[in-house]
């Protein structure tokens, strides 16, 4: 699509939203349909492919042996990376991680980490010596908007399935497992666009292009919020944030049923 077409489409999206409508006929606070395919990679300890409308991402989890940080000798950790694969969009390119993919990875990371869904002490194998590092790698396959939430859903789906490799003399035994990762919470991001002064949930790509500001927040099933991230050059008011919070809890609750 050329720039002129994009601009026309974006104008249309804005016009519709002013009338309370959206380009794909959803309500302003309505999420797109979600399709989750778990365990798509046998080599991963956990994995999931998620379709959120036209947006498609895949996430895989690898459990890797490592050393703990000196100041946290009895804790493992997580590490989240994101690749905006050039197959997902004509504007993505290979190369060192750009700010967009770093932000995506770090916001998904915080949703998991700050929810305390994973007890990092569970990941300790031998104090001060050996811990699990849970590598969570996000890949965008098709960007039709809201990669944040698609990656968040895929991450939670993967973690819920993640098997812990069996150890013998401190080394991993291939293809054998000793149970699953324990998650005490199910944190999920929910992302909004502010367009023409209105708040819409789960924006499609054209809405993202037209938006003034983006707001993502992660919620848990026990009524906590565990991460906020405002993006874009626009501003938010307190009441807009309130509206996002309420919708986020509502949507996340629906999504959790599908996991």
């Amino acid at each position: 699509m050329d720039n002129v077409t994009w601009d026309l489409k974006a104008d249309k999206a804005v016009k519709l939203i002013k009338e309370g409508k959206r380009v794909d006929d959803r309500a302003l606070d309505q999420y797109r349909a979600i399709e989750i395919k778990k365990n798509i990679s046998e080599n991963a300890e956990g994995s999931a492919l998620v379709k959120l409308g036209g947006t498609e991402v895949v996430v895989g989890v690898k459990m890797v042996l490592g050393e703990p940080y000196p100041d946290m000798p009895n804790e493992g950790t997580i590490s989240v990376g994101a690749e905006l694969l050039p197959l997902a969009s004509p504007v993505f390119e290979f190369g060192p991680p750009r700010p967009e993919s770093i932000e995506l990875a770090r916001v998904v990371d915080r949703a998991v980490r700050e929810s305390k869904a994973l007890d990092f002490k569970d990941l300790c194998i031998e104090e001060g010596e050996k811990v699990w590092i849970v590598f969570i790698d996000l890949y965008a396959l098709n960007d039709d908007g809201n990669l944040f939430d698609a990656c968040s859903i895929a991450t939670l789906s993967s973690l819920l399935e993640t098997r812990i490799p069996k150890l013998e003399d401190g080394e991993i035994i291939k293809d054998e497992y000793s149970g699953k990762l324990k998650l005490s919470r199910k944190p999920l991001l929910c992302t909004f666009s502010k367009i023409a002064g209105k708040i819409v949930v789960d924006p499609v790509l054209i809405e993202e292009k037209a938006h003034d500001a983006r707001f993502s927040l992660a919620t848990t099933e026990d009524n906590y919020m565990c991460a906020f991230q405002k993006g874009g050059s626009g501003s938010l008011t307190e009441s807009e944030i309130d509206q996002c919070i309420d919708t986020a809890f509502k949507c996340a609750k629906q999504i959790r049923k599908q996991l």
Partner: protein, 260 residues
């Protein structure tokens, strides 16, 4: 953790470790047109291997100084997801991935009418989501379908398969266990099926000329089987597009036009 040194029989009573015959490939499924941002795409499962391929282009090659005024550049990028292998792969492209990208791009250049699109680039992206030996031929086979899905004019498809040796036997489509045999030979092979010209050929391991002749014969047979599955995939997609076009004459025709 020492490598197992005991003698394994890779073929016993005509059956391989996973039950296949020596000339039998693992099950192969291909689906075209699965991503909507890309100009063409394909999803492929070949045994445990899972591959996504996407094509963008022909589009203007940038920066301008890389443009070729006589033909399109073919830019092939093969990458493995970090979790697609038993030990997590570093996200940075490994030398292996760069070499594979180079030889696979050269293999495809032969079939594309590159001379029709001067100053452009045709970008082919292949991502491996799960692996068990043979991902480069799987990627090439998928990429070929993604190119067709993108409507890029081609002389032929490219059909690819691995062939080689394990435990002294010449076998088709080696899996990881077979590739790890002490005497393993791995031969990734790709052809233009109509003429059986070879566009990709690599080999690792100790092989005699006689074994090579036998392996090539088996490989060509394998490529022909792959080609049949590729053609069936495109036929199915074309029929679906036709149908769709009839149902909604004035509707979204892009997809249908692509595969014509």
């Amino acid at each position: 953790m020492a490598k197992k040194e005991e003698k394994i029989e890779y073929v016993k009573n005509g059956k391989r470790l996973d039950g296949r015959k020596v000339d039998e490939s693992r099950s192969l499924k291909i689906e075209a047109g699965i991503l909507n941002r890309a100009d063409g795409s394909a999803y492929l499962e070949w045994g445990q291997n899972k591959v996504i391929a996407a094509v963008y282009g022909p589009r203007e090659a940038l920066p301008k100084h890389i443009q070729n005024p006589y033909k399109a550049l073919v830019n092939y990028q093969y990458r493995m997801a970090t979790f697609s292998v038993p030990d997590r792969k570093n996200p940075r492209p490994a030398r292996r991935e760069i070499e594979i990208s180079k030889v696979c791009g050269e293999a495809l250049e032969k079939v594309i009418f590159v001379e029709k699109f001067p100053n452009t680039t045709i970008d082919i992206f292949v991502e491996i989501l799960d692996s068990n030996a043979g991902t480069r031929v799987a990627g090439l086979t998928a990429a070929s379908i993604a190119l067709a899905d993108a409507g890029i004019p081609m002389r032929d498809l490219v059909a690819a398969i691995g062939v080689g040796k394990a435990g002294g036997e010449i076998i088709l489509d080696l899996n990881k266990e077979e590739e790890d045999a002490p005497d393993a030979v791995d031969i990734p092979l790709a052809i233009m099926p109509r003429t059986e010209e070879i566009v990709l050929l690599q080999m690792d391991g100790l092989l005699t000329k006689e074994e090579w002749k036998k392996a090539l014969k088996l490989g060509l047979k394998g490529c022909r089987q792959v080609y049949e599955i590729q053609r069936a995939t495109l036929r199915k997609q074309y029929e679906a597009a036709e149908k769709e076009a009839k149902v909604g004459e004035k509707g979204e025709r892009e997809k249908g036009e692509k595969v014509k």
